[in-house]
Symmetry: C2
Subunit: 329 residues, 2 copies
């Protein structure tokens, strides 16, 4: 049995001594918040984004909820064309959580943020009773700086634009499914969890990027459907060009999953013109774009989202009612 | 039994159609987010703060978790001397939550934000399985603008400074205790939950404010202990000057609680000089400061926090290990 001091108790979230001790022992040495006040001063032309993370299990091959939170928020900022700069983190902890688990997560969060050049500037922790939470939930807010004059958005998408993807689909979802459901794959598949802001910066060095979106919950299919809905234009994906790791494809076949709908945590779709050759080359030169591909085109000749199959037919790719796997991020 | 459409299901958090429907039906009409993208652009000289809210029950006399989140974050910004401008909100919902409850909370959040002149600019929702959450958890981040040249901070506190409080202690905690534990008080005591940014703006119109802090979890006693710890100075509170609602005092006696340690959600301590008469007057003229009082002084003649009793003795007011009531905010 664990010692009382090794588990999170309600006292750790009560705002009194035990909270201070937890901050001093676990959060502060790792995150190195610039101040222990509730707020921090920041400055000028900015975007802000926020996300809650409830992934299960908390630690998985290729990442953990702390790394995932930082990457998720960085990616939301990066696809807007901004440079991620500051993060805030809220933790909702379940009574009984081993402090060691929390420590691992906080360290991973700090490491990922530091490597990405972003700073965690404020945080908060609450604790709920055993059975009223699930280990660790994290909410993270990010603030980034937009370069002058950059304009991205669905409103700029036109017929003929190319859709690029920076690598294989579905790896995060399959890693989580294997870890959670005990599929027993050996070696275990790895999540693609990664911060994409240097990739987006590289892409934006060439003119003609009109829109970017990270393909998380709901996968590439959901991104494409959102674009089709917002623009009234159609999207045709080329099945033969969709990069899927053979191992991921195999798991998907076994479980009846479609990698187009599965969550990724290190993949983005970029819509570019005129022919996107330069953009594809920039992606391929980046470590997170080795398997990049031009996977489809925007078209005013169809409505909705379609996949052109290897034998030349078109199958519809509708928005699903629900994600195939819950608690994926 | 409720219809399937009246309860939150896992599909509502899955990032697909049901999520869009929930946003369109519940969040968007009420919060009126300026964009449905994951981020929003904001601008210049700023402070940022973040807080998670896990209060139980979700709705209580005088407020609810939505109003509480907005007030809590506004107050964290306001006590830094800044004007609250933008908020982001993350919701972690439990499967089985009635949508009507969520709607009430979101509406209350929006109403409170609108009345305070702040804008919710981004949000996110996740859903966890029944028994892995507790109705609604909210994480909220706020961004505010600092006026030029304002400098507040514990480092500016000196011997002789006065401590002002804008009203009665412990009302939020007693309202929650009554609602949660079924104490049966009739009429039920009301939380003091309120946004304090206009009060802080009024206070700052007079020179001599050196530090402000809202007295939430852990109450005024915890604020004073944090100041004493940070400065090495002592604090002496005057028991005869501490404003406590008679009904709150009565409940505290019955339950063995000390209002000095109880959470407030519409109270702040302001440390002012030279004699704080003008500041006290400004507080009293504000609707949220009718019961304001000068409750103590900062002293280099003692260490730690003390209460001067009605008969002239000094009793210590140490930091407690844990809050007296969990899940208070």
């Amino acid at each position: 049995m664990k010692e009382h001091n090794d588990i999170i108790t309600l006292a750790h979230g009560a705002g009194a001594r035990r909270t201070s001790a937890l901050i001093d022992e676990v959060f502060q040495p790792v995150l190195q918040l610039p101040t222990q006040d509730d707020g921090a001063e920041i400055d000028h032309r900015l975007v802000v984004t926020t996300d809650a993370f409830v992934v299960r299990p908390l630690l998985f091959p290729g990442g953990d909820i702390g790394k995932l939170a930082v990457c998720g928020v960085i990616n939301d900022i990066a696809v807007q064309g901004a440079t991620p700069r500051w993060l805030t983190a809220c933790f909702i902890l379940e009574e009984g959580l081993p402090i060691e688990t929390l420590r691992q997560v906080v360290e991973s969060m700090a490491r990922t943020a530091r490597a990405a050049g972003v700073q965690v500037v404020a945080g908060d922790t609450k604790v709920v009773e055993r059975g009223h939470g699930d280990g660790i939930f994290i909410s993270m807010t990010g603030i980034g700086q937009l370069p002058p004059k950059l304009e991205l958005g669905v409103g700029r998408i036109c017929h003929g634009d190319q859709i690029l993807l920076n690598g294989t689909l579905g790896d995060h979802a399959v890693a989580i499914a294997n870890a959670r459901e005990g599929l027993g794959l050996d070696p275990p598949p790895q999540s693609d969890c990664a911060p994409l802001h240097t990739l987006t910066a590289a892409l934006l060095s060439a003119p003609g990027v009109v829109f970017m979106r990270d393909a998380t919950r709901g996968g590439l299919a959901t991104v494409c459907n959102e674009v089709a809905d917002a623009t009234g234009l159609g999207i045709v994906l080329d099945e033969t060009q969709l990069p899927v790791n053979p191992r991921t494809a195999h798991v998907c076949e076994l479980l009846g999953l479609d990698p187009l709908y599965l969550a990724n945590e290190g993949k983005l779709a970029a819509i570019c013109r005129p022919d996107a050759t330069a953009h594809l080359e920039l992606m391929k030169q980046h470590p997170l774009g080795a398997n990049a591909a031009a996977v489809g085109t925007v078209s005013d000749q169809v409505r909705g989202v379609w996949v052109r199959t290897a034998i030349g037919g078109l199958r519809p790719l509708p928005m699903l009612d629900a994600d195939m796997l819950p608690r994926i991020c």
